[in-house]
């Protein structure tokens, strides 16, 4: 493990049990990610992509093996790792602005009101939704909801952005558009590492067999 590895997994295993049978989802996954890398994880559905992302995000604990973030063992979710959820997971009772504001207020507690407001504005502008600030998620299209979800994750100003199939629920045209947009955001934003299952990029991890 070199020092500039922002994330490193070693022999991470995870299995789920329903009492009768045990399903091994992750079997000794090892991976080193350097700063600035953009990694995609490919796999069939049920291969364990989401489980891996959840382990890195700290939502699930690996049965064995280590998840090191900047050399420190991962202990639950942290504000250095932003996560874009597969199913958008926006708060339906909050407007676009309030959805992003919730992340800003939770993560950047030390910033002043003005700084927080500026940050919210900037992230919403970034995903091109400044015209829809006051709308509720129900009034947005699928692609727009996904962009709000991206804006919310970016508003945490994370060092690692984890995206769990951010484009899977979209049609081909919207997907291509949003993919370009994510590329653009990646260049504009100083996020050190991108993780995105199901996106073709410089480095791909292809699981062997049916599981990771």
């Amino acid at each position: 493990m070199t020092k500039n590895n922002i994330l490193s997994l070693s022999n991470v295993s995870k299995s789920f049990s329903d009492g009768k049978s045990v399903t091994h989802v992750l079997d000794r996954v090892s991976l080193d990610v350097e700063e600035g890398e953009f990694i995609a994880i490919l796999g069939f559905s049920g291969a364990g992509k989401t489980t891996l992302i959840n382990c890195i995000a700290g939502l699930e604990e690996a049965d064995s093996g280590d998840v090191l973030v900047k050399g420190v063992a991962c202990d639950g979710p942290g504000k250095d790792r932003g996560l874009v959820f597969q199913s958008y997971s926006l708060f339906p009772w909050l407007s676009v602005e309030a959805n992003v504001a919730m992340a800003v207020e939770a993560v950047h507690k030390d910033k002043s009101r003005e700084e927080q407001a500026a940050l919210i504005r900037q992230k919403i502008d970034l995903v091109g939704l400044s015209h829809a600030m006051d709308r509720k998620p129900a009034q947005l299209s699928g692609g727009m909801r996904q962009r709000v979800s991206v804006a919310r994750a970016l508003a945490m100003e994370p060092e690692i952005l984890l995206m769990d199939e951010p484009l899977s629920a979209l049609d081909a045209l919207t997907r291509a558009k949003l993919q370009d947009e994510i590329d653009r955001i990646r260049e504009e934003e100083n996020v050190r590492s991108f993780w995105s299952p199901m996106m073709l990029t410089r480095r791909c991890c292809w699981p062997t067999g049916s599981r990771l």
Partner: protein, 355 residues
């Protein structure tokens, strides 16, 4: 109240007649402008009006017809039922008693005003003479409208207390499977208990608790309100539990990624997402509370609609049955109104909570 309904029905009938008249006018106008021979054929404009107004008129007329049919059957069958207080009153007698009750109320209001005016004059005279001022409360019997007001206050207090207890307990039950497992059997056993079973216990406890001769809240009022609370607690509790337990796992994960504290998680995540369930429960609770209230008031002798019904039953005059029936209609209308208010609030809340 019944006369008001009858009047509104009459108005409806008048409105229908007016619509018909408009149609005739239109037809005449159309006929005048075209050949005289075509006058009896429905004109384009007329059929257009029927087309436009038809569904609305039907949606309005069918319930009116239902009510009229019910009143007709009631009027026809009631005289056939013989009781010790004479025949069962029909809709007209009940309507008359409604008017009589209103007149009683206005008479009492006038009486009350006169009483206070006389008292003030007496006191002014006493002050002028350097004597003692004496203030008495008007001690006339409560009228029907006063009873309605008392009932509404009682149910409001009971419902407020029920919500105050049910929502927090429901939230805890929904969030913790252990707590839910501990409380659920109790809830299931308490839920079907009739208000009449609670009443003696509550009466004893409250009588022992409120011992001051002149308490801020009358004992009977507190007893009724607490019985209402004990019976209307459960729908809100169960629905809140379901609401808090069925919150989207992904939303909870968002909360974890953002590292929300427990209070932020509760107020910004769990409460808003459980709100539609909570309001559904509250609507059911209010319905139960209103039903229970009448029984509680009858037995606790708390002023209110229940006591009015009981007093009339004990009174046993020839108007008593008509008065009780009028009270039944009013109880139904108020229950319907409360339900509509809650339904409106429920819809308002649900609108904001779905994608």
């Amino acid at each position: 109240m019944a006369t008001a309904i009858l009047n509104s029905i009459k108005e409806d009938a008048a409105a229908d007649a007016a619509t018909q008249a408009v149609k005739n006018d239109v037809a005449e106008a159309a006929g005048a402008s075209s050949d005289a021979g075509k006058a009896d054929k429905p004109s384009f404009l007329q059929s257009k009006i029927i087309e436009e107004l038809g569904p609305q008129l039907k949606a309005f007329m069918v319930p009116v017809f239902g009510i009229l049919a019910f009143l007709a059957i009631w009027a026809a069958l009631a005289p056939a039922v013989d009781t010790s207080l004479g025949n069962l009153p029909g809709p007209v007698e009940v309507g008359e008693q409604g008017v009589a009750l209103y007149k009683e109320w206005s008479a009492t209001q006038a009486d009350k005003a006169a009483f206070y005016e006389a008292q003030e004059a007496r006191n002014a005279a006493a002050v002028a003479a350097g004597g003692q001022v004496q203030d008495f409360e008007y001690a006339g019997a409560p009228t029907f409208l006063d009873q309605i007001w008392t009932s509404l206050k009682t149910v409001a207090l009971g419902f407020f207390l029920a919500t105050l207890f049910a929502v927090p307990i429901g939230l805890v039950c929904g969030l913790s499977k252990t707590v839910n497992a501990a409380i659920n059997p109790l809830v299931q056993i308490m839920k079907p208990v009739s208000p009449l079973a609670w009443l003696p216990i509550v009466t004893m406890v409250i009588s022992a608790t409120i011992t001051r001769p002149d308490p801020a809240l009358p004992k009977a009022f507190v007893i009724s309100a607490i019985v209402v609370m004990l019976c209307s607690l459960w729908p809100t509790l169960i629905n809140t539990t379901v609401g808090a337990a069925s919150i989207d796992r992904d939303l909870l994960n968002v909360g974890r990624v953002l590292r929300l504290g427990w209070f932020a998680k509760l107020t910004r995540l769990i409460l808003p997402s459980a709100l539609p369930y909570i309001f559904t429960g509250m609507r059911l609770s209010l319905g139960v509370g209103w039903m229970v209230l009448i029984a509680a008031e009858m037995l606790a002798q708390n002023p209110g609609l229940g006591k009015f019904v009981w007093d009339e039953f004990q009174n046993g005059s020839s108007q008593s049955l008509a008065r009780i029936m009028f009270a039944v209609i009013v109880i139904g209308l108020i229950g319907f109104m409360l339900d509509r208010i809650m339904m409106y609030m429920q819809a308002l809340v649900a609108k904001n909570c779905t994608i």
